[in-house]
């Protein structure tokens, strides 16, 4: 492309530590080498500390009076918008820096989650699909690919890949030779930067990534050898739409305990299926029931941490080379609850009552650093996992089964009244997760919603349709703040139509 007297404008949105300043200096150096008039500016400041920041560059042809160049990007006035991350591209659109008449948008499609998204108690992620779709609609030309992955592939930092994508898009009046010379001229990590640059260039020119997009989900568990009869029963007696989930559930519960426990799972689901006229309810109940029945006790945690395939995945995750030993330390801090969970119920109740009386429950914890990569550490974890055979006799098992039965009873009764309401009762199971305080808080929230909204509806005191909405609202409130303030407010005045008592 050619450059005129009126400047070509490039805005770069990046986060601290992504090398936006270096990327800017490469473009400036290349432009000066090409004999262009160039100006750049930035607002590092506190944004440099992990915040979002921007760099702005204007380029114009030399000769005659020097054109007046701006220090701010103008709304509707950006030729090349570069974003190092998808939400930053969204922010650029939101600020009016991407317009269909002129803007080439070059953005990485990967996500670096903001603190708001990361601290949400459930799923607080922004709608990435919608941002990507908006990008294609708002830009004159959109160059979108996962530049973070490309940087990893090339063994470099994302700024080199972004520069390659800028060059590959053809949107800047700079020759590839001048840009490569600028990278070489900076004298630092030249080879890896050039590799990143070339990869970015090729991707922008439409070359497909060789690395397939990483699959988000683990594969389903393979069928347990002892599962045949149960899986057969799934196929014979459950709706087709629910079978994948139920099959996973069966296999998971055999893994968690034994085939008899998985049979109990299907027995429980028989009741749900008979009550519900809706395949979706069976699937969702099957999903949450499998999760509730495979609750995270010490035994389960030890089991997960001693799986034969774990260490290979862990080594990949921490990028250990084949010849490098990896020492793994686990952080366990069992307390009264954890000890009680494996004791017989009667004994456990006495232990808990004693600890409560003395105010010891929050205080008595044993901090353990277990090196699971050593033989003794592994054996200790294996021993914990081996407690599985005593699990059924333990206190936690009794508590969990009672809670599960109570919940499923509500699900079944709800399904007979209203499908939408039943779905909400099922989804409440998502509130119960985590460990220690988190787990306790989840149960409190769950119980609060059951007592205030679900049970009165089942007793015919509330309208099921509006109760369904209220349960959903309460569930969202429960995930709004860890202190439970929002939920307390919601439950204090639920927006539910009370049915007149007869």
């Amino acid at each position: 492309m050619t450059v005129g007297r009126r400047p070509t404008k490039l805005l770069l949105a990046a986060m601290g530590g992504e090398g936006g300043g270096v990327l800017t200096s490469w473009i400036v150096a290349a432009a000066e080498a090409e004999g262009l008039v160039v100006q750049s500016t930035s607002i590092p400041g506190v944004a440099q500390r992990t915040g979002a920041t921007t760099y702005y560059i204007e380029l114009a042809a030399a000769g005659g009076a020097v054109p007046v160049m701006a220090l701010y990007p103008g709304v509707g006035d950006v030729d090349v918008m570069v974003a190092s991350e998808l939400i930053e591209a969204g922010r650029a659109m939101q600020n009016g820096f991407v317009t269909p008449d002129r803007t080439t948008l070059i953005a990485s499609t990967h996500r670096a989650y903001s603190i708001i998204e990361r601290t949400a108690m459930g799923d607080g992620r922004a709608d990435a699909g919608r941002v990507e779709q908006a990008a294609r609609e708002m830009a004159k030309q959109a160059v979108l690919f996962d530049m973070a992955a490309a940087a990893r592939e090339a063994g470099t930092v994302i700024n080199a890949v972004m520069l390659g994508a800028i060059a590959g898009s053809g949107a800047l009046p700079l020759s590839t030779a001048a840009i490569e010379a600028a990278i070489s001229g900076s004298g630092k990590s030249v080879d890896s930067n050039l590799a990143g640059f070339r990869l970015g260039y090729a991707r922008a020119q439409g070359e497909d990534g060789t690395a397939a997009r990483a699959e988000d989900k683990r594969p389903h568990l393979s069928d347990r050898p002892t599962a045949d009869n149960l899986l057969d029963r799934v196929v014979r007696t459950f709706p087709a739409a629910s079978r994948t989930t139920l099959r996973e559930g069966v296999n998971r519960l055999i893994d968690f305990q034994d085939p008899a426990y998985a049979k109990l799972y299907l027995d429980r689901l028989d009741a749900v299926r008979d009550a519900a006229g809706d395949d979706d309810i069976v699937t969702e109940a099957g999903r949450f029931l499998a999760l509730r029945m495979s609750y995270e006790d010490v035994i389960r945690v030890a089991q997960a941490k001693t799986r034969p395939e774990r260490i290979a995945g862990l080594r990949r995750e921490v990028r250990a080379r084949a010849d490098e030993p990896v020492v793994v330390t686990e952080f366990l801090k069992p307390g009264i609850d954890e000890f009680a969970s494996v004791l017989p119920p009667a004994l456990a109740r006495r232990l808990i009552a004693w600890a409560d009386r003395r105010g010891l429950k929050a205080k008595l914890h044993v901090g353990l650093h277990i090196k699971s990569s050593t033989i003794s550490g592994y054996l200790l974890m294996r021993t914990l996992a081996g407690l599985r055979r005593f699990r059924r006799r333990g206190y936690r098992y009794a508590v969990e089964q009672a809670a599960i039965d109570a919940w499923l009873d509500r699900v079944g009764r709800a399904a007979r009244i209203d499908a939408g309401f039943a779905r909400e009762v099922i989804a409440c199971a998502n509130l119960i997760k985590g460990y220690s305080d988190t787990h306790r808080r989840g149960i409190e929230n769950f119980d609060g919603i059951m007592a205030t909204l679900v049970d009165p509806t089942l007793a015919g005191e509330m309208d099921p349709a509006s109760a369904a909405a209220a349960v959903r609202g309460a569930r969202e409130a429960a995930l709004a703040d860890p202190e439970g303030n929002a939920l307390r407010e919601t439950l204090a005045a639920p927006p539910v139509a009370k049915l007149a008592a007869e």
Partner: protein
């Protein structure tokens, strides 16, 4: 320092007829040397931190010219340094961020401005206003007016900025008045070029010392001299300045064919005005404005004759003036009134009174001005249509995006040593309940942002403890005051600790000792392990505290969360009345990483054994509650889609930027969170014993695991 300028400072040696290419701050430094300064000093802070960094990296060039550099411990010290120009023909410059730095400096500044200067005195002010600013939003303009100092606000291109530095010194000497050169954030960081001249050796310097001290009571700030000084300001200095500004054309007028209206703007906003006019179709083919513009490179004092000459014959002008109050708009109105001109002044009616004048703000202001004046020769409808078209993109994007994008407030860096302190406070809060926390200025101010949301007030740099003096006696629990080591040496030692000890105040002071003024870019401070020459400064926080009589003093490694909780609990509940000081000790992780990374790379290259530590999360046991993130906020502790086919909420995930600081493990223990975290120690270049042990372990564990499956 955050950034090395060793390479860039070579351009400070450029001479006559050469061209400088580089950043605004570096260009200003070059202009100072071209102006023949004898001394420079300052206190770092964005956006002028780099000015101090450049000077430190250019010390050999300064030595050669005999220029003295002082890295002051506060802006007050830097301002007082300018006192050298009161009695002697020494040119000097000081720099700091405004307006906070000017606040700290104002005692010395008032005295300096009253006494007046013989040698040119310049303060380079980084006006930290608008997007990217880290401080309260105020203007430096008021300081210029109240103390009678001249305020330069050059058009933001390097030729104009450097010319104003040079002419600023002349203006200062002609009018015996210190001048302030105001640079906005983007101007400080603008990369451009300008033609250079040879550096000027100062008449007097370390290489050419003054033989006789000058005594002149009229330059002492004591009555009756102070009365005479005030009169001198009005009767001599101000008229001399106005004459100099007018005669030397410091302000610039640009003609345009639309004669009915015109624009007066602060020099620093000129480029935004030009771009706005261009966007609205109010420029010609060469990009020249069709509206006449008066660009004020000097915003205080104004030259009334220039204002009236520009406005004469115009039905309206637009005053483009960033920030509030609208000092310039008022002054322009007064000038017009006195000259009995009927030109209408637009300004804060079509532009906002407060906030940064971004491109978009100026664009809309210009649109309002055209709509309000409808000058002959301009198609006002076409201008309005262009403006509407430009703004339509935002509306469309908002529709397509559906929701506002999540913001990214700044936070503690990966592995920051200050984060664990706030994790500890947050965990202890659950046990003893919340209390008032007097926050301070520094990286630790980020504690007031998510995920910690800790800190009730911020009263200024080093003022954390002092700001607790009033609230502490009225609070049911002990107040926790925070102070960084930067703030401690800047102000906190005297105003905070000194005052608290003198008044026998009861309270808890947490001093973050990370070894640098890190928020401003890792400049050295008195308690750093080394100073800019690489030597131990031989000053310590502990010794200073003991010197002031502090008896309850503990030092805790910040990453030891459990220990920090214990010590903090003791400080909060101890029967011991008086000031209890905890030094939270941990080197700035960014600086540490920069220090150790090359060393580790060299060790690895030599084949030495190096253990790399990082943390991870078992995604099978993580249930996606994210309470670990709420107690940390570390950028490397993030989320990823849940790999469990039965779950949907994202799980916690440690990415590869983890530096293995250990906080994740400490927090999951201290707060009894969950067993999902693991620590991985990767042995690089393992010795034969490592390999053997690993082989045996893997073989045995492999068998055991296989037996289980």
């Amino acid at each position: 320092m955050e950034r090395s300028f060793k390479k860039e400072v070579q351009s400070l040696r450029l001479g006559d007829g050469e061209t400088f290419h580089g950043e605004g701050i570096l260009a200003v430094t070059k202009a100072l040397l071209q102006s023949g300064v004898s001394y420079v000093g300052g206190y770092q802070g964005a956006p002028i931190s780099h000015l101090m960094d450049v000077l430190v990296d250019a010390e050999d060039i300064l030595d050669d010219l005999g220029v003295h550099l002082e890295t002051c411990t506060s802006e007050a010290a830097a301002a007082a340094m300018l006192g050298a120009s009161i009695n002697y023909p020494l040119r000097g410059a000081a720099t700091w961020k405004a307006t906070v730095g000017t606040n700290v400096a104002s005692d010395a500044l008032s005295n300096l401005a009253s006494a007046g200067v013989k040698g040119g005195a310049m303060i380079v002010i980084g006006e930290d206003y608008g997007e990217g600013a880290s401080i309260i939003q105020e203007r430096s303009h008021a300081f210029a007016m109240k103390s009678q100092m001249w305020l330069l606000d050059p058009r933001p291109n390097l030729p104009t900025i450097t010319r104003m530095v040079e002419q600023g010194f002349e203006l200062s000497e002609h009018s015996n008045t210190p001048v302030m050169l105001e640079l906005r954030i983007r101007a400080c960081h603008v990369h451009g070029s300008f033609p250079t001249r040879d550096n000027r050796r100062p008449q007097f310097s370390r290489n050419q010392v003054i033989e006789h001290p000058d005594f002149d009571f009229s330059r002492i700030c004591l009555p009756p001299s102070t009365y005479a000084q005030e009169k001198h300001k009005i009767e001599f200095r101000l008229p001399a300045a106005i004459r100099f500004i007018a005669e030397n054309g410091l302000n610039e007028t640009f003609d345009g064919d639309v004669g009915e209206i015109g624009i007066i703007c602060q020099g620093g906003l000129y480029n935004s005005v030009m771009r706005g006019l261009d966007q609205l179709g109010l420029t010609d083919a060469d990009g020249n404005s069709r509206l006449p513009i008066l660009a004020l490179n000097v915003t205080y004092p104004l030259v009334p004759d220039e204002i009236t000459a520009f406005c004469a014959g115009k039905k309206a002008v637009l005053m483009v003036e960033e920030g509030q109050p609208d000092f310039l708009e008022q002054a322009v109105n007064v000038a017009l009134r006195k000259a009995d001109l009927q030109t209408r002044v637009f300004g804060k009616d079509v532009l906002p009174m407060a906030g940064e004048y971004t491109s978009e703000v100026v664009l809309n202001g210009l649109g309002g001005f055209i709509a309000g004046t409808r000058p002959a020769g301009v198609d006002a409808e076409a201008v309005a249509a262009r403006l509407a078209a430009l703004m339509a993109g935002k509306t469309r994007a908002a529709e397509l995006l559906g929701a506002a994008m999540p913001t990214r407030p700044p936070s503690f860096c990966t592995g920051c040593p200050e984060r664990p302190v706030f994790s500890a406070i947050k965990i202890l809060e659950k046990e003893i309940g919340p209390t008032h926390m007097a926050a301070d200025i520094g990286c630790h101010t980020f504690s007031t942002l998510p995920p910690f949301n800790l800190g009730n007030t911020v009263l200024g740099y080093g003022m954390g403890l002092a700001s607790a003096a009033g609230v502490a006696p009225n609070m049911g629990k002990r107040v926790i005051s925070i102070m960084g080591d930067g703030g401690f040496w800047h102000n906190g030692l005297t105003n905070g600790v000194g005052s608290a000890m003198f008044n026998k105040d009861d309270g808890v002071l947490m001093i973050m000792k990370n070894g640098y003024t890190s928020a401003t870019g890792w400049q050295f401070l008195p308690s750093s392990a080394q100073d800019r020459t690489g030597k131990d400064p031989g000053m310590s926080i502990e010794a200073a505290l003991k010197g002031l009589g502090v008896r309850w003093l503990r030092k805790v490694r910040t990453y030891h969360v459990a220990e920090m909780i214990k010590v903090l609990r003791e400080a909060m509940t101890s029967k011991d009345k008086g000031l209890k000081v905890i030094i939270a000790d941990g080197e700035c992780q960014l600086a540490r990483q920069r220090r150790i990374r090359p060393k580790i790379a060299a060790q690895l290259k030599r084949g030495e054994r190096v253990v790399r530590t990082r943390f991870g999360v078992d995604d099978e046991t993580c249930t996606g509650d994210h309470s670990c993130i709420r107690l940390s906020g570390c950028p490397s502790l993030t989320i990823k889609p849940n790999p469990d086919p039965l779950r949907t909420d994202p799980v916690a995930h440690v990415d590869n930027s983890c530096v293995g600081c250990g906080l994740c493990g400490e927090v999951s223990h201290a707060a009894v969170l969950c067993p999902s975290f693991y620590k991985a120690e990767i042995v690089q270049n393992p010795r034969w014993l490592d390999r053997l042990l690993d082989r045996v372990r893997r073989a045995v564990i492999g068998r055991l695991a296989g037996a289980a499956a």
